[in-house]
Amino acid sequence: MKVGMISFAHGHAYGYANALQKIKGIELVGIADDNQDRGKEVASKFQTKHYLDFHELLDQDIEAVIITSENSLHMEHVVSAARKGIHILCEKPLASKVEDAKKMIQVCKENNVILQTAFPVRFNTPIVNAKKIIENGELGKIIAIKGTNRGTNPGGWFVDKEKSGGGAVIDHTVHVVDIIRWYTGAEVTEVYAEVDNKISEYDIDDCGLLTMEFDNNMFATLDCSWSRNKTYPTWGDVTLEIIGTNGTLAVDAFEQKTNVYSDDGVQWDFWGDNMDDALVADFITTVKEKRSPSITGEDGLKALEVAIAAYESSEKKQPVSLI
């Protein structure tokens, strides 16, 4: 199968490119990147061709494309690929605006191409195993979920609102919201959030605390702050604490680590399964078998809507309804 990639603006691109290389029968035809230096470098690293103009890549004979550009460029890239009949794995958040995400979904439908949202956490082994425990009914009825997806401020275009659509809230709300929806099948009906820019010098939100109400009478909170400082032993976390009528379940997606104390400080060396590999392999299988994607564009949209509602709630200092 011939596959392309558009932009290495998002760091996840490296993991996805590595994942592609591990799958038999995949040819990475080219990498489009509007950043000449970066494009050349990664094309050489992954032994493929660099295209400065993404249209040129889309004109090649490719069946699928992975889009890892800046959030605000997702729409242009997805829509262009869809119109060429190319199947798409698009980095999260699906878009920087809700209307863009809706348009992307619509165009992909019209052109009969697969649009999968890249939520790699769905392929994290502890997250997957925890889902089985929930489905066994061991916890009883789920009452509440406490989530965290903290991180380090990534800087670069992530802190440029024009390109990202927002900071920590848009970047880190979507993963955990997606997992909660996936675990429970419930939809968010209301969002309250306290959002602020209190940590970095950049003029963008880096503190976020969301409270969500769901259509199954469950509630959840999520800390999506970029609050890990530079000496913190790892980049961040994804954790869920699930409270059921019969018991509790704590999941730490990146707990598989070894503590390393070197002269560089303390580091957590992660040895868990590679979720990017599993995500990309799933997407390729989906394209091969012409299946519906395991994570749809709608899933990406639903998670994005919560993030956007969080910004609105924080502005209004009131809960925002999503029904």
Binding site: I143, D196, K198, S225, N229
Partner: protein
């Protein structure tokens, strides 16, 4: 020498009684509980006399310097007034009262009777919490931004199952995470806005779980987790600032680990302390010192009211589904 009396021989009464027993300037004269065998059991442990009622204790002992009130919350006011009438200083367990009106009346009553009132916000006496406040004051992590706390374990069992009666206890939001509210207020100042969710009225099993968001006037955002839906009692906190992070997790502090083949305990969880003098002892010692020297305590009755105000705002938010803005002026009215 302080003559002290403990009212209520439950979990907290036992903690107070043992602290008094250990203090050298204290004579613990009695333990009161209407469940007389319970009073006798505790009295025997601490070498004091057991009484069925407070009035019997007063009739027998005469002048008592300090009375500890370790009763279910709705009974605090009645016994505080009785003790104040006798000219005894009062150490009252938290929360001070079930309602702000009662709390206000209690403070005014103690002032009127010229007795001191101390409220057991013991978290201010836990060294990990004290040292963290000192680190914050030293600007160790820069300006604090996002704070998370956790407190809880299993559902508490006590006399008449009073914790399960929301009208009596106010549930864990008033009874337990008020500790964190008090501590956070100590560290970060006054709260501006409160938003909260709880399991209350969602489930009817014997569990309670609440998640509270606080926005402080300083801009700090705090997430407070309270649980009576877990298994073992733990406290946690994490403070992220512009230049660093401070985190603590009591479940990871195990200087001694023993293995036992069965476990089933009742009562209210009281964290076991790996210290010579536990925080409850330090608290009571401090309160007695304040009486002796006529000094202001580390945590005042006014602080206790402020913490109650945050708890009650959280309960209001849970009931209405709306954020509650705390009105400074209103609080002052309540206190004065």
């Amino acid at each position: 020498m302080f003559k002290t009396l403990v009212i209520g021989a439950g979990t907290m009464g036992s903690v107070h009684a043992h602290a008094y027993k250990k203090l050298t300037n204290v004579e613990l004269v009695g333990v009161v509980d209407r469940n007389y065998p319970k009073a006798m059991e505790l009295a025997e442990q601490v070498g004091a006399k057991a009484f069925r009622t407070y009035d019997e204790a007063v009739a027998s002992i005469g002048k008592i310097d300090v009375v500890s009130i370790c009763l279910p919350t709705p009974l605090h006011k009645e016994y505080l007034m009785k003790a104040a009438d006798q000219g005894s200083h009062v150490v009252c367990e938290k929360p001070l009262a079930r309602t702000l009106a009662d709390a206000k009346e209690m403070i005014a009553y103690c002032e009127e009777k010229d007795v001191k009132l101390f409220v057991g916000h013991v978290v201010r006496f836990f060294p990990e919490y004290i040292r963290t406040k000192q680190l914050l004051d030293m600007d160790k992590i820069g300006s604090p931004a996002v704070v998370r706390t956790t407190r809880g374990g299993g559902f508490p069992s006590a006399s008449n199952d009073w914790y399960a009666d929301f009208n009596s206890s106010g549930g864990l939001v008033l009874d337990m995470i008020i500790h964190d509210f008090d501590y956070l207020r100590w560290c970060f100042g006054e709260v501006k806005r409160v938003y909260a969710k709880s399991s209350k009225s969602r489930v009817y099993s014997r569990i309670e779980y609440a998640l509270v968001t606080l926005r402080f006037k300083s801009g700090v955002i705090a997430h407070v987790e309270g649980t009576w839906a877990h298994q073992n009692f733990t406290t946690k906190f994490e403070i992220s600032g512009t230049n660093g992070i401070i985190e603590f997790d009591s479940s990871k502090v195990e200087p001694i680990v023993t293995g036992r083949n069965s476990s089933s305990t009742g009562g209210v969880a009281v964290p076991e302390s790996p210290l010579k003098d536990n925080p409850y002892f330090m608290e009571i010692q401090h309160f007695l010192h304040c009486i002796e020297k006529d000094e202001h305590p580390i945590v005042t009755a006014e602080d206790a009211v402020k913490a109650m105000e945050i708890s009650l705002a959280a309960l209001e938010s849970i009931a209405t589904g709306k954020p509650v803005v705390l009105n400074e002026e209103k609080v002052k009215e309540v206190i004065r």
